[in-house]
Amino acid sequence: MNRMSWFNAVSLTLGFAFLYIPMVILVIFSFNESKLVTVWAGFSTKWYGELLQNEAFLNAAWVTIKVAVFSSTMATVLGTIAAYVLVRGGRFMGRTLFSGMIYAPLVMPEVITGLSLLLLFIGIGLDRGVFTIVLAHTTFAMCYVSVVVSSRLVTFDRSLEEAALDLGCSPAEAFRLVTLPIIAPAVISGWLLAFTLSLDDLVIASFTSGPSATTLPIKIFSAVRLGVSPEINALSTIMISIVTVGVITASLVTKHQVARQKREEQAAERA
């Protein structure tokens, strides 16, 4: 089974070409001299220079990062609590409704989530801006965090927590000293997921932002509607490189951790 058949080789090659060629073209043409994005006119980095001088884009990027940091951190705290309550909380009144509210936002069309939150903010007279986007992003991202964390909580051995409690830990100490270190990788990947979702979101941010707060996706969307532009290509290239470096680093770190864990287990077996 280890030899690849030609069919599999061809389907993998074509598949990954389809996934990557559009992004490669985007990156190459961000270094194009010409304003016409489809005609190559020589190498240049001038669009990056123009991007760095474009105040509107820089402001939007700053707003986006602020929103993403606040909302993903809040979402991680709330989502972890929600996952803990769902997996360890036992039965309580309204549990079905609670788990429904955790899963529903995952499949909800963004236009509906955005519309409903906007109507709420207007209903209670809250001025739209950075704060309302943070509230909106926290709400849908916490559900993703809670799904990631609860899948980790389900698989881990409960007797470890019970042992800590028997040995005199308070429940809070048992959570901090035993549970949290074990679920930490899931909490971190939940935070990363929440952060990316927030960076990425156009639709919900468009509904819940006011004139004072424009995020990068909103800015990109309104620029892109007018057609392709080399400046947006440069911006996309920067964003693609950040994600690529992040994903590769994360996967190397996990690989390293898995290898270390294996070595430790082997050492423990020998001892």
Binding site: F18, G89, P171, F221
Partner: protein, 293 residues
Amino acid sequence: MRRFVLIAIPYVWLLALFLVPFAIVLKIALSDAAIARPPYFPQFDWAEGIAAFIAELDFENFVWLTEDDLYWKAYLSSLKIAVISTFFTLLAGYPIAYGMARAPEEWRPTLMMLVILPFWTSFLIRVYAWMGILSNEGFLNQFLMWIGVISEPLTILNTNSAVYIGIVYTYLPFMILPVYSALERLDGSLIEAAEDLGCSRLTAFWLVTIPLSKTGIIAGSFLVFIPVLGEFVIPSLLGGSDTLMIGKVLWEEFFSNRDWPVASAVAVVLLLLLVIPIVLFQRNQQKQQEAEQ
């Protein structure tokens, strides 16, 4: 007491920012549009009491949705686009997942990462990348004219074909991952047994591999179908003026026409449309979990 607080924090948050907003959408869907701020009627007024308030609500907007065929057409065409593009995503995703599951074991983590990487990249940017490829002077037309397949550029951008390409491209990882995880678990000796018993490779694939990867296929299809039904970014960037999708209609109803009650009614109907696939998806996931245990 501590347990109560722990449950209450996320509970109250979701009630206030998820459930209550829905109640508001439903209420506004039953209201009438008005030239006021906010632009709908009736407003809730404690002095007049609840009975008087409820008496003002009606189903006019929903009747309007059935009368104006724009909405009907938009719902139907969203359904059609979602079904067709799910099918094409499966057609493109299955061979990739299959190739990954049959690849040498030491390659698989890298291949996995290559599938997940686009998922972390901005959705908007991935859709935007196709605008430069599909336009009249775009790379696809340049390429096709260069190899001599066509002499005149094809119009692809701002048509439904561009929408299909965009959907297949952006949702491909959602299809590949569940199908791959189903195929990876598949026991290779079953296929060998089928071949030993006289099946050709193709029949063995059709009779053994496909049925055993069914849960992955179903999960992937719903993961594509459900979000595509309410998709907004792809039809508005790649589609043309004749591309009708309900997410786009809702957006325009709200931002351009500023008809909040009709936009809310559109949202309520879209939600009802999604209930069936979501319930089916949930059931498939449960079956899969039971099978694993």
